[in-house]
């Protein structure tokens, strides 16, 4: 079995990719995908530790996270569709009304 560190490093890399995607990309759908990426990186950490410690709690948490992620994806996509209908665009730089 692969050592714990491998899983943690992989998880960190995926999380970093997710963060970079959220901050850098100019498309709301990609940003939403990047958020999913971050969530799943965390899930991987949970699973790795659950196996390593021989405990069930980490695996239970993962189910919760997946549920929340599904709900979040639904709400997020609904918002994105609504925004797109209004503005014909998905670029976050054009959504800057709440300032100054």
């Amino acid at each position: 079995m692969a050592p714990l560190n491998y899983y943690l490093v992989l998880s960190a890399i995926i999380f970093a990719i997710g963060v970079a995607g959220v901050v850098i990309r100019r498309n709301f759908i990609v940003i939403l995908l990047s958020i999913e990426l971050m969530l799943n990186a965390v899930n991987l950490t949970f699973i790795a530790f659950a196996r390593y410690l021989g405990s069930m709690e980490g695996q239970v948490i993962v189910f919760f996270v997946m549920t929340v992620a599904a709900a979040e994806a639904v709400v997020g996509l609904a918002i994105i569709i609504s925004i797109f209908r209004h503005r014909r665009s998905l670029d976050p730089r054009e959504m800057q009304l709440l300032k100054w």
Partner: protein, 635 residues
């Protein structure tokens, strides 16, 4: 010996109730009724004062504790009144003469629109003044002290439509404020110094018991500060300037507040705190000197005044100087005695001048009077009596009280020949200016202009009856304190319980007092004669005198007002103007506005960071999180 006497509180409270009723409901009552209400309140107060005077046992003290006013361990002050012999005398003067003047006002102010307001103020004054003399601690006395100052201000500026009256009221208030500041400092210093000795009190009897604990130099400073307050309230050099201007008020007010009662508050305070003043010989010397100088200085000014009330105003300043001279040489009893007799004859003179002004429809210039004896007989006779009394005619009140002061100024251990000489010269000047006035107003040819002359009339009974009573009082009030070679004084033993036994006068030359008396009579007679020669007959000498330089100096009151104006008022207003027009808008506003505009400019540039772009916020959030991680890991 202290006794509870529950009636005491009604002496101030009845006039207060009268004032409150007049202020609250006066607009709905008829003006005449307001006058009767005020008179009734003072009359009741007078009756209670009489009862106090009558029932007060020799060397006893009545107390009336209302409630604890300030309870701040270890200091405690009660709102309580006390009446001893000194207070009883003052109460009789305040309510008794106050009552006569209230009645007089019914006639004098009978057709004035502001009658309700007038009587409300007058009652309020009686309240504060009786509070002042009934107070059993310095704090309560100070309340009364400030209160009478307020009433004085309100009544000087009573006819506020005329701007000069308002100015005179302001002047009185501001000059008094300067003195009161000294007084307040004195109270605080006394409180502090006593506290250092472990005695936290301002109660008079407790202060008297603890007075010996004070260091001599602090007593001197404290009493000097108190005296500074007295120079303001009692119009002594250098703060006397407000009193002559205070004559802008209605004449009964001048009689009550600016002659008989309020201006004597300083003398009363000095006598009340005599145990402190006696411990400070330096202060006493200052008081005696200032008193004698004021007496002389004001008398010389009175000689050259042409306004009937201003002559009396300077005369009051001069007589107050006499009282302080007496207090300064340690003869507190003589000071209070002169206060008592002065209240009668000066109130009589002021009310008499009021009667003249009333008859002439507001004219106050004595050069436009003359020969009024035929038109105003009652006023003339009472005025003559009062003028004789103030000049010290034998066997009248002024004779006894003034001679007592002159004798003390000469013979008391603190006295000196110089002090006596000043007081003696003042006696001559007093006779001169009083009879100059009498001759100018009542004798000679009538110089009244024609329309006013036709309306000349003697005043109504409400005004003449108080005049007659006061004139009688002026004659007989002095018989309470005759010298030892007559039937002696009932006055001094009566006040001894409060003021202590005075140091025996060293009577080296028997009959010395009699000799001084004769000298005083001599100079007073000389003053009278001079007045008669110059103003009593038809002569042109008076006009030639009026053209001399020295007369012009006197008529302009030595230009003291002008000097004060140049030295104090103008620099002060210039300073204030600089502050208001340059410093305040430039510096203060500049500072405040500068802070505001700096912050505004800062905000304007910094608000750019709130871009509205979600990704910027996220980036900042991420950077912050990383910083915190870095900090936690690096620790």
């Amino acid at each position: 010996m202290m006794e509870q006497f529950g009636l005491l509180r009604f002496i101030p409270l009845i006039p207060l109730a009268g004032a409150a009723l007049n202020i609250l409901f006066g607009a709905r009552l008829r003006p005449q009724f307001a006058g009767f209400l005020a008179c009734g309140a003072v009359a009741l107060s007078f009756l209670v004062s009489l009862a106090v005077f009558w029932l007060l046992p020799a060397s006893g003290v009545f107390r009336d504790v209302l409630f604890i006013w300030i309870d701040s361990e270890p200091f405690k002050a009660q709102l309580s009144f006390q009446a001893d012999a000194l207070t009883a005398v003052m109460l009789l003067v305040i309510t008794g003469i106050g009552l006569l003047i209230h009645v007089y006002s019914l006639g004098y102010m009978g057709d004035d629109e502001g009658m309700t307001r007038y009587f409300a103020y007058l009652n309020l004054f009686v309240f504060f003044m009786s509070l002042l003399v009934l107070a059993d601690n310095l704090l309560l006395l100070f309340v009364g002290w400030e209160g009478v100052g307020l009433c004085s201000y309100l009544l000087i500026g009573f006819w506020y439509e005329d701007h000069t009256n308002t100015i005179a009221g302001n002047k009185a208030f501001i000059v008094n404020r300067i003195g009161d500041f000294g007084f307040l400092l004195g109270v605080l210093l006394l409180f502090w110094e006593m506290g250092r000795q472990g005695v936290w009190t301002l109660n008079f009897s407790e202060l008297e018991r603890a007075a010996h604990l004070l260091r001599p130099e602090s007593v001197t400073l404290i009493t000097l500060l108190f005296f500074a307050g007295a120079t303001g309230k009692s119009a002594q050099i250098p703060l006397y300037v407000w009193l002559p201007d205070a004559m802008q008020g209605p004449t009964p007010v001048s009689a009550l507040i600016h002659a008989a009662t309020m201006v004597t508050a300083g003398v009363y305070m000095t006598a009340r705190l005599h145990f402190l003043f006696s411990l400070a010989p330096a202060t006493l010397a200052v008081i005696a000197t200032i008193g004698a100088l004021t007496a002389f200085f004001a008398a010389t000014i009175a000689v050259a005044q042409n306004d009937i009330k201003r002559v009396l105003a300077y005369s009051t300043v001069s007589q107050l100087g006499y009282m302080f001279l007496a207090a300064g040489v340690g003869a507190f009893s003589a000071a209070i005695f002169h206060l008592f007799t002065h209240a009668f004859f000066k109130a009589c003179l002021f009310l008499g001048s009021g009667s003249v002004i009333h008859a002439l429809g507001g004219e106050q210039d004595m050069r436009k009077m003359g020969g009024l004896r035929r038109y105003l007989p009652t006023t003339y006779w009472t005025y003559l009596v009062a003028a004789l009394v103030i000049s010290g005619a034998p066997l009248t009140a002024g004779f006894f009280s003034k001679d007592q002061i002159l004798w003390q100024a000469y013979a008391s251990p603190n006295g000196s020949t110089q002090l006596w000489l000043l007081a003696w010269l003042t006696a001559g000047l007093t006779a001169f200016y009083m009879f100059r006035q009498l001759f100018m107003v009542f004798h000679g040819a009538c110089r009244v202009a024609e329309p006013a002359k036709a309306r000349l009339h003697e005043s109504p009974a409400a005004m003449t009856v108080p005049l007659v009573l006061l004139a009688l009082g002026s004659i007989f009030a002095g018989w309470l304190g005759t010298p030892d070679f007559m039937w002696g004084s009932v006055w001094d033993p009566w006040l001894q319980s409060v003021l202590g036994v005075q140091e025996a006068v060293d009577d080296a030359a028997p009959g010395g007092e009699l000799f001084l008396m004769a000298l005083t009579l001599g100079i007073a007679a000389l003053g009278f004669l001079l007045a008669f020669l110059l103003y009593g007959r038809e002569s042109r000498v008076a006009e030639r005198i009026a053209a001399t330089t020295i007369y012009r100096w006197l008529a302009h009151k030595y230009y003291v007002d002008e000097i004060y104006d140049c030295v104090f008022v103008r620099p002060f207003t210039a300073c204030a103007r600089w502050l208001a027009q340059i410093f305040d808008p430039g510096f203060i506003d500049g500072f405040v506005n500068g802070v505001a505009s700096t912050i505004r400019a800062g905000s304007l540039s910094w608000r750019r960071i709130q871009s509205g772009d979600v990704q910027h916020y996220l980036f900042a959030f991420l950077a912050g999180t990383l910083l915190i991680f870095a900090y936690l890991l690096g620790r």
